[in-house]
């Protein structure tokens, strides 16, 4: 029997199908327009589920970098929940960079050093046993006493970085050594400090005394503000950008700062001095310099004019790869903005060695031609607070530092770290037998790693004071765990700025384990070394209260506010400042007789660095905003931010090597030294003759469980240096690398 409907292709008529489907769709769509469809969408229901992380507030000072912004930390149940900028502190103004904001990641770092350790295995084998403070400090005191008898107190050298070192500097000056080698001089700011000292009798300072907020033209040479996150400077930079002041950025890389510039000059690396000389040529020969200022405050303009005659923009164009017309134009703009114009002195200025001091002298001179030193929108003369010392006996006479041989680097303002290292190896001019290292990971901070290790092997004693088990700690004989900046008092902090001030670092939370503040460690050690008279107070608050009393500061107010500002006084000519120049001549020395007498060129010279060998790129390194070089690589909070741990390579140059964005590569330098693998950022934002990577990654210390193995260590590739003959700075951008693709 044939069933009804057999043979029909569909069980239902097509029309019905379509109607039913369309109906459902229509209903669903209509519901989206129907007000009832959102009946409880506007219900003011739901409790606020973000009550925030406010707690007990403690005001203190940050030390994730050297800037020392005032902070206020919130504490709940013994843990720091958040850190903000202290609104009363003029370096933070209530704002904070990412590193300070993530400071709790250091305080609560599970890899912290928590017990004093003494070496049990071979030096460098990273084998330690925990000991008591008494034993550790007793050992150190005993050793130092022996060494003093055998070699003299000068056989002890200190490498320090950070405000907390002050106690140890005091202690060891009392001990009788003058070998204080802060790597921040010869491996960082040395050339600019020496150059400015020669020119102005004063240094640009820490923090740098730049009135960027009011400047009309800012020139940055390599300074990558923004990726370099010095809080106040970036605040000022942003306000300057927002009001469309002129910004000229000279950098082989299109940095964040370059992206905000009116003109970016993608200069051939190593040729900045040529550009500066050409700018001087234009400004002087076209009569655009600040005549009144130059007449009143400087000496040597005629000699300078003659000197820069040959440094034409055309000459500089050939050296720098830039356009001569652009060189002229930027010089004119710079001069037109004077005196509210700044050629930024930079900070890390140990670049190529041969002409680093010359380059910084050129910067100093240019600023003088503009009349920006002492002017609003230029370099202000900072106000410093009056702060009385705590009375202690005078230091004994100490032999001159061992970092240099006679005639070497005559204009160094501080002992050269690498010089002390050399003296440790070869015993000249006299032996160095002990190193006391505070807060400085020398393995990454000093170039020529094998030399550092060689020196360490020659020591009788290596003591490391740190908060984390950095590479240097693995080489120590004694490791002393310090309380971090969030867990201790430090000595009163002087602020030299638009207004002077005194700031207080005080504990926010307790230190972990047996970690102790530096003042305690130094004091204990002093008593064991029979130098107790230099620490005649029992308790840090006693010391601080006494200093405050002598300086007419209210300690309780300081604890509450974090800072006490001094009365305002003029810091610029426009404010009524009387500008005095601290050189011997009392003038800003465009022409330096001191340099001439010492056999150096009295005015800046350009030394062309060698070009990269074929197939190689010049290795450039720098900063990333979320990190302070190697100190923060282990910070788990900051680890959540963009790592910036790639190597920047020009996209076309990379693709010519078959390498693309995101590929893993190994960098191999001119002597065959290889980096750890890291990823490539193939980008248009860099010249094709250089590569750029942030400094501070590639940790190998196994105790840094979070950091180890991340990224690559640029400093391991820096086995060649060029020493600046004027002040001994180690130029480190003189290494070349090639790229090898990894699987």
């Amino acid at each position: 029997m044939k069933r009804p409907g057999m043979g029909s292709p569909v069980p239902l008529s097509r029309r019905r199908w379509l109607a039913l489907t369309a109906g459902t769709l229509a209903a669903a769509t209509a519901a989206r327009f129907h007000p009832l469809g959102d009946t409880d969408a506007h219900a003011a229901s739901g409790p606020l589920q973000d009550p925030g992380t406010d707690g007990r507030i403690v005001r203190s000072v940050c030390e994730v970098c050297f800037w020392k912004c005032g902070i206020q930390a919130h504490v709940q149940e013994g843990r720091i929940t958040k850190i903000q900028g202290n609104p009363l502190h003029p370096l933070s103004n209530g704002k904070l960079c990412p590193r300070g904001t993530g400071g709790a990641g250091l305080a609560h770092d599970p890899d912290r050093l928590v017990r004093p350790l003494m070496r049990v295995g071979e030096r460098g084998s990273d084998q330690f046993k925990p000991v008591s403070w008494d034993e550790a400090l007793g050992h150190i005191a005993g050793k130092l006493e022996d060494l003093k008898k055998k070699y003299g107190a000068e056989s002890l050298a200190i490498f320090n970085h950070g405000a907390g070192a002050s106690w140890f500097v005091h202690l060891f000056k009392a001990f009788g050594t003058s070998n204080f080698g802060a790597p921040s001089y010869a491996q960082c700011r040395g050339p600019r400090d020496t150059a400015f000292d020669l020119t102005y009798g004063a240094e640009p300072g820490s923090p740098e005394v730049l009135d960027i907020a009011n400047t009309r033209c800012l020139v940055l040479l390599g300074s990558h503000l923004g990726e370099n996150m010095h809080n106040t400077q970036v605040q000022d930079f942003a306000s300057m950008v927002a009001r469309h002041a002129d910004l000229i950025v000279v950098d082989p890389r299109f940095s964040t700062a370059a992206s905000k510039a009116r003109t970016w000059l993608p200069i051939r690396p190593g040729t900045d001095t040529a550009l500066l000389l050409a700018w001087m040529h234009v400004i002087v020969h076209e009569g655009r310099y600040n005549r009144d200022y130059v007449e009143k405050y400087t000496s040597g303009i005629d000699k300078l004019k003659e000197h820069v005659t040959k440094f034409t923009p055309e000459w500089a164009a050939a050296e720098t790869g830039l356009d001569a017309a652009v060189i002229r134009d930027t010089a004119r703009r710079l001069a037109g903005a004077a005196p509210a114009a700044i050629v930024h002195p930079g900070r890390h200025t140990t670049w190529y060695g041969a002409d680093d001091t010359h380059r910084e002298r050129a910067i100093a001179i240019l600023n003088a031609l503009l009349g920006s030193w002492g002017s609003r929108g230029g370099f202000f003369i900072p106000a410093s607070p009056k702060l009385a010392p705590y009375p202690t006996p005078a230091y004994p006479e100490a032999r001159a530092a061992a970092d240099r041989l006679p005639g070497e680097a005559p204009f160094a303002l501080e002992p050269l770290s690498q010089g002390i290292r050399r003296a440790t190896i070869d015993g000249k001019p006299y032996p160095i037998k002990a190193w006391f290292v505070y807060g400085s990971n020398l393995i990454q901070a000093l170039p020529q790693r094998e030399e550092t290790i060689k020196a360490i092997q020659a020591l009788d004693l290596l003591v490391v004071v740190d908060v984390l088990p950095m590479e240097i700690a693995g080489w120590a004989d004694v490791v002393l765990p310090e309380a971090s900046y969030l867990e201790r008092y430090d000595d009163l902090l002087k602020l030299s700025w638009h207004r002077g001030g005194v700031a207080l670092r005080q504990p926010v939370v307790d230190p972990p384990g047996e970690a102790k503040p530096g003042w305690w460690i130094a004091r204990q050690l002093a008593h064991k070394m029979n130098l107790g008279q230099y620490f005649p107070w029992t308790d840090i608050e006693e010391y601080l209260k006494e200093r405050c009393a002598r300086s007419n500061l209210d300690f309780e107010q300081l604890k509450r506010d974090g800072i006490i500002l001094s009365p305002p006084k003029p810091t610029t000519l426009e404010d009524g400042l009387t500008l005095t120049i601290a050189t011997e001549s009392g003038k800003i020395e465009l022409y330096s007789e001191k340099l001439e007498k010492a056999g150096f060129s009295p005015m800046p010279e350009f030394r062309r660095p060698p070009a990269p060998p074929p197939g190689y790129f010049r290795l450039l390194y720098g900063r990333a905003p979320a990190q302070t070089f190697g100190r923060t690589s282990n910070n788990r909070q900051l680890g959540e931010l963009s790592h910036g741990d790639r190597v920047w390579v020009n996209a076309k140059a990379a693709s010519d090597l078959g390498i693309h964005d995101g590929d893993r590569v190994v960098l191999v330098n001119q002597d065959g030294i290889q980096s750890a693998p890291l990823r490539v950022k193939a980008t248009e934002r860099i010249r094709s003759d250089c590569v750029f990577m942030p400094h501070g990654w590639g940790h190998t210390a196994k105790g840094l469980r979070y950091a180890v193995g991340k990224g690559a260590d640029d400093s391991a590739l820096i086995n060649r240096i060029e020493v600046d003959p004027v002040m001994g700075g180690t130029g480190m951008r003189v290494n070349f690398v090639t790229l090898r693709k990894e699987a």
């Binding site: 409907g5 057999m6 569909v10 039913l20 489907t21 769709l25 669903a28 963009s642």
Partner: protein
């Protein structure tokens, strides 16, 4: 000429590995839900067109299996929830503008419809094995009297069940591959096709096999047309939508989509079925099996490929 753009972000490293918000649970549910929708539509349509006597034992079995399959599907959805304890919240409110709310209510409302439909159908062989139960008898006789309205309920419920998932995907708006008004219809047609295919697997009656095969051929033709409309519609919407489409046409999902879903799951069964209907080949269980596999994989492709291209990329 595309301008050269370099994009990066704080979270770029997360997106490289963890960009999926919905995993295997969703395509599994979509398949089972669509299949159940197809079962309901087919059986209800047969009742309405030909009367309840035309319902075969395979169809009854399908209707019996429907709540089981649907529960498995809902189980998959439950597994996808990241706050399972709050699942009851779906049923404290009705928000018709949210397809997921609409769908969650449809999902539970189809159960009684399926149960009553089963009871409404003749169960001669089965009934003799059931214990005599007064309430059950009363419900059964009520259901038998209301068999036509119940079939309408089954048809509409099945259509709602089949359509809403496609509408859910398309109303997210934020996923270019799903931003097509064809998606609801595609899921309905595909679901119906898998429902018919499931019945074909179980069907023993030759005439019914042929009827189902004819229906399936028509549904596959419609499905191919809707897929074409979906793809072509998106391709004309702009560069982002073209990029989304390229994932299934030339990118990582192309082999699965073109090879297995379109060719193996649609074209091949359609040709084989047509040939069988013309007497040129035997009806075999291979064909509905291909349709079922294709239906499952179509949903995997749509759900996964749809999450590859979004408005943001870093």
């Amino acid at each position: 000429m595309q301008p050269h753009v370099e994009l990066d972000s704080t979270r770029a490293h997360l997106l490289e590995t963890g960009h999926l918000f919905w995993g295997w649970e969703i395509p599994v549910y979509l398949f089972l839900g669509g299949l159940v929708a197809g079962l309901m539509i087919t059986v209800s349509a047969v009742i309405l067109r030909y009367g309840k006597e035309r319902v075969t034992s395979a169809m009854r079995l399908g209707l019996l299996a429907a709540p089981v399959l649907l529960s498995l599907g809902m189980g998959a959805l439950f597994l996808d929830l990241t706050l399972k304890l709050h699942v009851f919240r779906f049923y404290l409110t009705f928000r018709p503008a949210a397809p997921m709310s609409l769908g969650s209510w449809v999902l539970i409302l189809v159960y009684p419809v399926q149960a009553l439909l089963v009871l409404a159908l003749p169960w001669h062989a089965f009934a003799s094995r059931l214990p005599a139960h007064a309430l059950l008898d009363r419900v059964r006789s009520l259901a038998e009297r209301l068999v036509r309205p119940l079939a309408w309920a089954g048809l509409l419920g099945g259509i709602a069940l089949g359509v809403y998932t496609g509408v859910l995907l398309s109303t997210t708006v934020a996923n270019p591959l799903w931003s097509s008004s064809s998606l609801g219809f595609l899921f309905l047609v595909s679901g119906s096709s898998t429902g018919v295919a499931a019945l074909m697997m179980a069907e023993r009656d030759h005439d019914t096999q042929a009827m189902l095969a004819r229906a399936d051929v028509a549904l596959i033709v419609a499905e191919l047309a809707v897929i074409a409309a979906w793809i072509i519609g998106l391709a004309t919407q702009g560069p982002l939508y073209r990029e989304a489409v390229s994932v299934v046409l030339s990118g990582s999902y192309a082999p699965m989509f073109l090879g297995i879903v379109v060719f193996g799951g649609l074209l091949v069964p359609m040709v084989l079925e047509a040939m069988a209907l013309r007497g040129k080949a035997m009806h075999s269980r291979l064909v509905p099996a291909l349709v079922l596999a294709g239906g499952l994989l179509l949903r995997f492709v749509i759900v996964y490929a749809g999450q590859e291209v979004r408005f943001f990329s870093v």
